[in-house]
């Protein structure tokens, strides 16, 4: 062994020092994401940190056999790499949800395994058992919660919120019973209680995420991201390993901040998201607002207006992802730029199914990131914009959020598209957005709807522009 001949205390310190280096690499990695220029380097730092952590651990004095470890590393590594290389960018939210579930389950297994290994070594005490219980239940909730989130995003489950009477009481009861069994385990070292607690946590993961609707998925995905970090933290406490505690805390706070940003962008409290029930699809009231009616425009009309504009802003939403329209949007951008029309993209923080979803899709279709703007950066520009083209976004451009106090969206920050000279909305039908709210923008004088599939309509526009 590499470490033979050294005192156990010294060995511990050497490992802790190397782990500290890994921790620093993780922080540098996250720091790199402050700009797209440094981001790739940041990812390399993070990978380096992980490499250091894994290789160092392989030399830990208590690690005696390698077959199971290598089998897990090779098998898991291969599967992970293959999935990551083949996944479509539109399926990114599902992939992230699936990966969260793996971390959760892994933390549960680590807790169970650590329980047995410490029991054999006679090192169990009540502090450790509290920490084991925490690691196991956070991991278990992350696991099943993420499975449900995955099912909803992959549309294996209905993305509608599933609500029933007494739901919150059931969750509360489950939570209390879970803590009860956890406490019993910590006091009596009853393995049965440990397992019952974990089982209830698994159930709780289901019942907590099922009532949350499709529109709230960006918050849920961020929250589960956070949980996976806290699970790593709890595992760190059981192992007295500061690397895990630090890394888990970084991930946990990252997910928590993202959840906060998403909630703020929807003007909802985190509590109301967790309680769920928001975001069912209800039939839109097709009655005119204030005697006004919706105008529809032909593809050619919209193309004509675009051609005669000086500046246009494109607003992508989840509908663009569904129609896989990002590549034709890029073509549209090029055609417009050839005609010396300024093209910008405006992205609302909750557009899509996860934070930053739209940015990734636009980047995928080779749209330079310096054409893409966040809500706060671009909102002042709508008033001097000739044409706004909305592709599959709905609630995030609804001016009712500013004007109509009775609207469920009231108070939510929106993209001020209505201020532009002309707005075109590409839409498949008159169905309401995820919030189930009729969009007041459609009744504005400067707004017209172009009905059809986002991809087909955009292709039609490109054709008309090239001929025109």
């Amino acid at each position: 062994m590499l470490t033979s001949g050294l005192s156990p205390e010294l060995i511990k310190d050497i490992f802790a020092a190397v782990y500290l280096v890994a921790t620093l690499f993780f922080i540098l990695g996250l720091k790199g994401l402050s700009s797209p220029k440094t981001a790739l380097k940041g990812n390399t730092y993070a990978m380096l940190g992980m490499l250091i952590a894994v290789v160092t651990t392989l030399f830990y004095p208590t690690v005696k056999s390698y077959y199971w470890i290598l089998a897990g590393l090779i098998l898991g590594g291969t599967i992970g790499t293959v999935i990551a290389l083949r996944i479509q960018m539109t399926a990114m939210p599902q992939l992230v949800a699936a990966l969260h579930s793996f971390v959760g389950l892994s933390a549960v297994f680590v807790a169970i395994g650590t329980y047995f290994s410490h029991k054999q070594a006679g090192e169990l005490n009540s502090t450790l058992m509290v920490e084991l219980a925490a690691g196991s239940f956070i991991g278990a909730i992350t696991f099943t919660g993420s499975v449900i989130a995955f099912g909803k995003l992959q549309e294996l489950l209905s993305s509608n919120p599933l609500i029933f009477k007494g739901q919150h009481y059931l969750n509360l009861l489950l939570g209390l019973v879970m803590f009860g069994f956890g406490a019993h385990f910590a006091m009596t070292d009853s393995f049965v209680s440990f397992m019952v607690m974990t089982g209830i946590a698994l159930l709780l993961g289901f019942t907590l995420v099922l009532p949350i609707g499709g529109a709230d998925m960006p918050v849920v995905v961020s929250m589960l991201n956070s949980y996976s970090g806290w699970a790593a933290c709890a595992t760190g406490f059981t192992l007295k390993n500061n690397l895990l505690i630090t890394t888990g805390a970084l991930v946990g706070s990252s997910g928590a901040i993202l959840s906060y940003i998403m909630c703020k962008a929807m003007n909802r409290s985190i509590i109301s998201v967790i309680l769920g029930g928001f975001g069912g699809e209800t039939a839109a009231a097709s009655t005119a607002v204030g005697g006004k009616t919706v105008k529809s425009a032909a593809v050619e009309d919209a193309a004509f207006m675009l051609e005669n504009s000086k500046k246009c802003i494109i607003v992508p939403g989840y509908g663009m992802a569904v129609a896989q329209a990002q590549h034709v949007i890029k073509e549209l951008m090029l055609v417009l730029q050839e005609k010396e029309i300024e093209v910008k993209f405006a992205i609302h923080p909750v557009a899509g199914r996860m934070p930053g979803h739209m940015n990734v899709l636009l980047a995928e279709s080779d749209i330079p990131y310096d054409c893409v703007f966040e809500m706060d950066e671009i909102n002042s520009e709508f008033s001097n914009t000739d044409v706004v083209l909305i592709v599959g976004a709905n609630d995030v451009v609804n001016p009712a959020a500013k004007t109509d106090k009775s609207s469920p969206l009231y108070g939510m920050p929106i993209l001020d598209c209505y201020k532009a000279r002309q707005v075109y909305v590409i839409k498949r039908s008159m169905r309401a957005g995820y919030a189930g709210v009729d969009n007041a923008l459609f009744y504005y004088d400067n707004c017209a709807l172009v009905f059809g599939d986002a991809k087909a309509v955009t292709e039609g526009m490109i054709k008309a522009l090239k001929e025109g």
Partner: protein, 95 residues
Amino acid sequence: MSETMIGIYVFVLSCVIGYHVIWGVTPALHTPLMAVTNAISAIVIVGAILVAGTGDNGFTVVEVVGFMAVFLAAINIFGGFVVTNRILSMFKKKK
């Protein structure tokens, strides 16, 4: 200080670092942020390796459980980092 108390110190201070670093991340990169934090949350693999390597290459519960934990965490590490790399390579500036 007990080991647990030291752990709590480390935990709280790390949350403070996390808070400052994460607010510095540009919103355009929030998806890769999730992907990369996902990969690094698989740091539980350290615990998984310790569990999986305790025995003598037998078929004990501890080893099988440890193997599962290593396996799942490894999917995350490789999947998370590779997909982050893919996403970040797509972000390009205007030529």
